[in-house]
């Protein structure tokens, strides 16, 4: 089966946007053992779009078009597909229903621009978009199944598995089953993982395909086997993988690190408090991004200044003077202060130098101390992440959450996070 992709958008041609959608589509097509053979990207130009659709449809069994479904004048996909098919544009009743549903759920009033999103090529079928106003649509062009999808990545993603793949299966009469296990890991890099796999599993069979996808801060591992009878093979190698990397695995399917942490807190019946300096509330925002977090989290202290550390958490002025705000002593006092002030069961405290300023030869930008645990068993650890400010904050927050997850699940907390950081964390 020949599949091609057509991406449209001036921002893709000007270099303002880097296309990641086609990679997401291509990776999902692997589940059907398919690979696109051609990918064409053009700007928002009606004539060029029309001609591209015609020429790609001629050479393909399936053509996936991405982008150009928005409400503005530079969104031309519907018009171009209509022109390519030689049919008029008309207001699609199913698309209207979807648009009205979308607007009603949000209390919006549909504008003339919004309504344009229901003007589709005559004879097309709509493709549901659960996340946005841009309804997708499909049309047969000679023998080619043409499917038009929204360019917004968060809208496209859920549509691929739910809407596109089933239509492709049906169109191509694809009956092969693919067995897929998805595991989510934290604390190891893609290359570190690849090296370890090569070393530990020299006998990994070629027919068990291993795919990695970085979804910061987590890596998703996809173990795929093709064929109805490949389930046992898939299970066997998934189990071997799980056994070797057990403590790096935070869950299956779409588990987030924040979710893994909250689950560990809930399973052990612990309520968390947070005392954050350099991460400025990022860990609290992570924990509370999960539904139901009020059961496992009570109070967060964003003590950005020394005054706040003293006043909110009772860190002593003497400790701050003697050791500095980024020190083992201060994070331990922050953690006990947060436990005392909040009445929570378990605390996480963090203080570091996010940069770009504030470093010293002794404590360079990238230095961070973390303390965690219950009142009678606080531990602390120092890390060094010499990366840009935002990356520093995200890395520190993620590692802090993982340390707490490991602590709760009785896994080692002296783990070397990311093989590349090995040397530096031992400084």
């Amino acid at each position: 089966m020949k599949i091609s992709l057509l991406l449209t958008g001036n921002e893709l041609m000007s270099g303002d946007t880097i296309d990641s959608n086609s990679a997401v589509i291509a990776k999902s097509l692997r589940d059907l053992a398919l690979l696109p053979f051609k990918k064409l990207v053009v700007g928002d130009d009606l004539e060029l779009l029309t001609e591209s659709i015609q020429s790609l449809a001629q050479k393909s069994d399936v053509l996936i078009i991405n982008g150009g479904l928005g409400p503005t004048v530079d969104d031309l996909t519907a018009e171009a597909l209509a022109a390519a098919a030689g049919v008029p544009i008309e207001r699609h009743p199913d698309a209207m229903i979807e648009l009205e549903k979308w607007a009603r759920a949000r209390g919006f009033v549909l504008t003339e621009s919004n309504l344009k999103q229901a003007d589709l090529p005559q004879g097309c079928e709509i493709i549901l978009n659960p996340r946005g106003s841009a309804v997708g649509f499909s049309l047969m062009l000679h023998d080619c199944l043409v499917m038009c999808t929204p360019g917004v990545p968060s809208e496209l993603r859920p549509m691929i598995e739910q809407e596109l793949l089933p239509r492709i299966r049906q169109h191509g009469a694809i009956t092969t089953t693919t067995h897929i296990s998805r595991l989510r890991m934290f604390g190891i890099t893609e290359s570190g993982l690849q090296d370890t796999i090569n070393r530990v599993f020299p006998d990994w069979p070629a027919e068990v395909e291993l795919g990695f996808r970085v979804q910061m801060p987590v890596i998703e591992i996809k173990i795929s086997t093709i064929g109805d009878s490949s389930l046992a093979l898939n299970r066997h190698w998934t189990e071997r993988f799980l056994a070797h990397f057990s403590d790096y695995i935070i869950g299956r399917d779409s588990t987030r690190l924040t979710q893994a942490l909250n689950t560990a807190l809930a399973e052990h019946g612990k309520v968390l408090t947070l005392a954050e300096s350099c991460t400025g509330g990022l860990i609290a925002a992570g924990v509370t991004s999960e539904p139901g977090s009020s059961a496992v989290f009570t109070a967060g202290y964003v003590t950005y200044s020394n005054a706040a550390k003293m006043q909110m958490l009772g860190v002593s002025e003497q400790t701050l003077d003697q050791y500095g705000a980024v020190s083992e002593q201060v994070v331990l006092e922050m953690a006990s202060g947060a436990l005392q002030a909040s009445g929570a069961d378990i605390a996480l405290a963090i203080s570091g130098i996010a940069g770009p300023d504030g470093g010293s030869p002794d404590k360079p930008v990238g230095t961070v101390w973390m303390a965690w645990g219950e009142a009678d068993a606080l531990q602390a650890r120092k890390f060094y992440f010499p990366v840009a400010r935002i990356a520093f904050q995200r890395t520190a927050a993620a590692i802090a959450m993982d340390l707490l997850r490991r602590q709760l699940n009785k896994l080692p907390t002296d783990v070397d996070y990311f093989s590349e950081l090995k040397k530096t964390t031992q400084r």
Copy 2:
């Protein structure tokens, strides 16, 4: 001048590699006021590559090919270009000299695989690659200048300005410039903006190109004009745009909302404190994601539970009982409590129902109260964002930050955020 790009590599088709090279090339082409009109990506397939080169060269004045110059069997660009041009492959003396230089500098011995990189289409000219062994090369195909470049980003980058642009200038006898203004807006949707522009500027000239790009939560507006003498035209329409949308504009170029808020705080010499319930530290994390935030931010209180609201901010139990945690009275007490506890100049407090649970007929999921201001002039406002949890938190945090930016800059704070939300915010 018509420019097209052809990218080759199986890893680009499978989704294992996301193409960033074409964005780098496109951005550099802006210096010559050029924009590629077509970008084609294909796998390592000789026939498809040859046919793609022929068809693109026919429709283009310049064709830039990227990838497929390596030493392995799946690197087919030289062979495909030779086939498209109907010339043989031969060992190129200049390429041999470059390869030998490259090997000598590194103490390498050239292998048979390396030598393959000097086997180029007859009649081509080499393009120097200062960073790697893959020499580039160019050939005229009818009237089209075809240039082949390496796929490794770090090798490609220095070649663009030093080698490709001069050849394009010469080929097209180019002297034109493009003028671009970039503005950043918050509080209006893409479709709302388009509708307003249609209504307010019916006379907007076609030669002043308007582009929108959503970079949540901000929209970037790009106003472009082509030609050396178009600077005044660009300025005129940029000024008109600015004048009409002034209070929605948070800055120029790459200004972030967090940056606009911190700048407003710094300009007015105010130190901020935050009292967050439903956003769980997201606003604090936003403010502290900016370098230098310690000058404008001191302490954040993530008071997720009622107990934390009372204990950390002194919210009275009676107020909580009488009005509930999501109420005007509670956010006002949170804001004054945070000002008192922290000694900061200005506060922002927020309490709402992020969902999915916790709503009631009276206060459905999506309801949120915000309070902001200095101790003697606190204001509060209610919003309703009936969207999924994460979207609710991000929208609420962004609007809260914008309200504070407006307050500091003496802009209206009773603005209707996002035209579609108009009705609901007035509930």
